[in-house]
Amino acid sequence: MNRWFKQLGLVLIVALTTAFSAVSFAQSAPAAETEGQIWSQLKAGATGETTSHGQFHNQPINTYDLRLLDVRSDWLAPGLMLALFGMIIIFVVFIKINGISKLHGGFSGKMVYRWSKFDVSIHWLGAIPCLLLILTGLVLLSGRYFFQPYIGEGMWASMVYGAKQVHDVMAIPFMIGWALMTVLWAKNQLPKLYDLKWMMVVGGYINFGPFKGKHPDAGFANAGEKLWFWAFAAFGLVISASGMLLLFPNLFEPSRTLSLIALILHSVSAIIITAFSIVHIFMATVMSEGGMECMVSGYCDETWATQHHNLWFDEIKENGTLKYKDQA
C-alpha cells in the first residue's frame, strides 16, 4: 500500500506515518492501539459525511490496482494499432504471395437466393457503425500515443472530440444490429464435425503446398465464418455491456473501479473484434471472388455456392428451397 501512495507522489504523508510509527511502538502499548487508525481507515476506503453532493465525494480515498492503467497504455493501446494496421499489412502480404480464391470455371450468371433483404439490412446496421466504432475507438485508446505527436493541437482536439461524439452515437445502432444478427443467425452457425476438416485445410484458401486445390465441405456457413460469428456474439456482448456502463453512468451507477475494469474489458474486446473484422472484410471483398455479392443483393453466384458452401447448396437443391433470382 505504501508503494501505491509513493507512486502518486504522496511520499510526504506516508514517510511521516512510517517514520513515526517506530517511535510510538517503542513508547507504549496503549498508543499502538489507536496508532494510525484514521489513516488506515482512509486507505481502506472508509466513507463518511460531507456537505458536498459531488460524485463519490463521501469517500476520501479510493484505491485500486494502478497496474490497470499500465495495461491500458502499454499493451492495449499498441494492441489495437496492431489489430488494425498489423492485420491489414499481414493480409496484403498474404494475398501478394498466395493470390485470391478464384471461382473455378468463372461466374455462372445464375444467382442463388441466400440472404433476405432484412438479413442484408441488419448486417449493414451492425457493420457500418462497427467500422466507425473501431476507428473512433482507436483515436480514444491509442490516439494520444500514435496520432497526437504528429498533428497540431487544434486538430488533435477536434479529432478526439469528434471521435467521442461519433462513438457515443454509433454505439446504439451497433448494439441493435449485433443483437439481431446474434439471435436470428445463430441456428446456421452451430458447429458440425466437417468444420474440423475445414480448419485442417484452412478452408482451401491456401494456393500452395499440400493445401493447394482443396475444397473442404461447408454448410450454410463455413468453419471460419462460424468462428467469427461466435467471437462477434461473445465479444459483442462484452463490448456492449461494458460500453453501456461507460455511456450511461447515471443509469447503472458503476463504482469507479468497475468503470476502469469495464474500460479494460471494452478495449480487449475491441482488439479481438477489430482483428476479426479485418480478416472478415478481406475475405468478403478481395479473397473470395464473388463473396461480396451476398451482402449487396442477398444472392450468390451458383458457382460460388457449390465451391464454398457445397453442403448447403446440395441441401437446398434436395429440399426444394433453392430459389434463383428472376433474370430481368
Binding site: 510526504l12 463518511g48 459531488g54 469507479r256
Partner: protein, 189 residues
C-alpha cells in the same frame, strides 16, 4: 523549482467547511452549478474515532488522471502541479474513475447525463491560458500562484489544519507539530 503539496492535519480539522467556502468564493467565475472542488469528509461521525479531512486534488506526481486521459489534456507545471486544458477535454469521465481522491467533477450536460468539461482544483494556479486573462478566469478561476500567493482554501483555514505550499516546508511544519504532540498516535488519531 518547488513541488507544491497539500496536507490536512486531521487532529486540527474542525469540519467548519471554511476551505470549501473560500474555494467557492475565490474560483466562482469558473465553477458551474454543482461543482465543488474541495470538500470536507467526516468519518466515524458522532462516534469514537471521529475525524474530518479536507480533500481536493492532491496534484499527484505520477498522476493517474494524466495516465488515463484519452485526450491527453493534463500537464505538469514547474511547481509540480497537475493541471488540465479544458479546450481539449472531451468529458469522457476516465479521470474521475482513475483519480484516488474523487477530485475531477463534471457539470451535467445533455439528455443522458452526458458530461461537460471536467473541473478540479487548480491549486489556485489557473490554467493554460495567459495569466489573469478573462479566458483563464472563466475556465479555471483564480490564479493566485502567479501573484505569489498560496491557495485560498489553505490561507483561510482558521485552525491551519489545511496546509498548502512547498512540500519541504509543509512537511517541516507538520513534523514540528508532531514532535510537539509527542506521540505518533497524535498524527492521524
Amino acid at each position: 523549482m518547488a513541488t507544491m503539496k497539500f496536507l490536512c492535519d486531521t487532529k486540527r480539522c474542525i469540519e467548519c467547511n471554511g476551505c470549501v467556502t473560500a474555494c467557492k468564493n475565490e474560483n466562482d467565475s469558473a465553477l458551474e452549478w454543482g461543482i465543488q472542488r474541495r470538500r470536507v469528509v467526516t468519518i466515524n461521525d458522532g462516534v469514537k474515532g471521529e475525524a474530518s479531512i479536507s480533500v481536493a486534488c492532491m496534484h499527484c506526481t505520477d498522476a493517474p488522471c494524466e495516465a488515463v486521459c484519452p485526450a491527453n489534456c493534463f500537464y505538469k507545471t514547474e511547481d509540480g502541479l497537475t493541471l488540465h486544458n479544458k479546450d481539449t477535454c472531451i468529458g469522457c469521465g476516465y479521470c474521475l474513475y482513475a483519480c484516488p481522491f474523487g477530485a475531477p467533477q463534471f457539470p451535467k450536460r445533455g439528455a443522458f447525463g452526458s458530461r461537460g468539461k471536467m473541473d478540479k482544483c487548480t491549486f489556485c494556479a489557473g490554467g493554460p491560458e495567459e495569466d489573469h486573462s478573462d479566458a483563464e478566469r472563466q475556465k479555471y478561476g483564480a490564479n493566485r500562484l502567479a501573484e505569489g500567493k498560496l491557495p485560498m482554501c489553505a490561507e483561510l483555514c482558521a485552525t491551519k489544519s489545511l496546509l498548502a505550499g512547498d512540500a519541504e516546508i509543509v512537511s517541516s511544519i507538520f513534523r514540528e507539530r508532531v514532535a510537539y504532540r509527542g506521540s505518533n498516535s497524535a498524527i492521524w488519531g
